[in-house]
Amino acid sequence: MAPPSQIIKISNAVWEIPRSYKTGMRVPARIFATEKLLNQMDEGVFEQICNVAMLPGIVKYAMCMPDGHWGYGFPIGGVAPIDSQDGVISPGGIGFDINCGMRLIITNFTHKEIEPYLQKIVDRLFHSVPSGVGGHGVIKFNRKQFEQILLTGAAFCVKEGFGVQKDLDRTEERGCISGADPQKVSGRAIERGINQIGTLGSGNHYLEIQIAGVNNVYDKTLARVYGINREEQVAIMFHCGSRGFGHQIATDYLQTFLRVMSSKYGIHLPDRELACAPFNSPEGQDYFAAMKCAINMSFANRQMILYHIRQAFSEVIGKSASEMQINQIYDVAHNTAKLETHIVDGFPRKLIMHRKGSTRAFGPQMEGLPEEYKPFGQPVIIGGSMESGSYLLTGVTSGSASFYSTTHGSGRVMSRRAARRMFRGKEIQKNMALHGIYTRTASYSGFAEEAGPAYKNIDEVIEAASEAGTCRPVVRFTPIGNIKG
């Protein structure tokens, strides 16, 4: 699908759709992509990002990252910097899976050392980290504990013995965002989420055992800072979010916002999925406090999965997690709205940064980074398709052009149904085994939907993200074991 004819080339990897393209646009839309990726984007991306440009209070540009694809409301890969004083907050700009994100773990094993244990570890994790439709966690929390999780996130899990302080130090927001208010969350959301802590979900959520190949370390110095210092070193990467809990909060508040958006606040937008309310309104603040509960739930979910990873390795290999140096490198989300201060036209402005399918990528010395990473920038974790590879990157100073936002994955090019028609889950599994990747899945049709060719080429997406100055690659990982929801 060709992009709109009015699109202007700003640089090799930045394109602009002017305000004149669509009535109601308050700012231009900017797309970060190479020409090849731009031409691969479906028409929904261009329409949706221009709708985002209509949100009250949007500053400078509505942006779409190189992995952008047709979503609902925002495109996946959509970014909206919105003024916190006179702008809005929109659940559609965050996504239903609030704080969905990536966590990357390193071990001291090499590929050869882990090979004899690989299948057992994957099998063990397939049971202890439930995936697929209706998965409930192995470790249950009562209502009181769940409320503590909503208030304190991964910190609650660490306090209960399911992790170490360093896990928190190396998590965005230290695994606990302040200002969460469980009173703003519906009983339904709690009922949907209370049993889902420690579960992966389905769709594109996964847990993968990976290798940092010798030729795939692009910055050896920085890789060493992350603990990557052996040839063919084993890492674990996983992708999941706030499960049904976050979805229910988004659904609840979309309905609230639809009731007040035009009648109370006089805001009119072309898509109900963009329903919003002024950030400083009672409805906007209620949603912000409820959304923070989902942020904390999601951090706790990933913390419990890390706990199960350490347990699985310990049980199968017979060593403690600390002996095996199973250490977290970082945890970063790609579906959030957070208050951040950015320099806009030379002046600092407090913005409510909406990122839906876009990873925050802070540059060196920025506030909020772990001290040990501050000189280098924020680790950025990007998952590719299960058949290709994934990346660890770092935020860069030039990221200011995208409000320190970058890609979140490789981005789909084929619909789920088309992929299911084209591929067979069992055949893909066999083929992956031939390439040394041992897999388990809760659903073979779901597995077919996630076939490698259903996604853009991850290397091209990373190249575009780097070319656009949003981040810089440090290590490329290739999979050897995969659990798919």
Binding site: G44, W70, G201, R412, S445
Partner: protein, 143 residues
Amino acid sequence: MPYKYLEEIATADIAFEAWADTLNDLFIVASDAMVNVMVEELDTIKKAESKLLRLQNMALDLLLFDVLQEIIYYKDAFRLILRLDNAEIKENNGEFRFEGTASGELIDPKRHKLSADVKAVTFYQFRLSNREGIWNAHVVLDI
């Protein structure tokens, strides 16, 4: 099958269109279209447990939205996968009321061929209409 999946909308999610001669049947067909995204063979869902669903909304399309969300709620909160057996929609003073029975059972990965998990109904291109006597719903599900 009175529903079809639309491949070219919302690449990472799933869209469908459902149609029926009556509004009551449309609610049943649309809910089956959604459950069929999660369980590939609907006939494998036994009617072991029933729930009476009563919902109301000022907008007819949002009433369908609520019914679909209700089925998602039971799936996540109780691991219950439900199908609508019957549906009755009535209008009273501008308010639409739904009453219907949904039956199903606990999710059993050994018997149910499970596919993608539906996590939410979106408002994106969400439409309910009557065109020349045929009721039609257009729905995009979040996966």
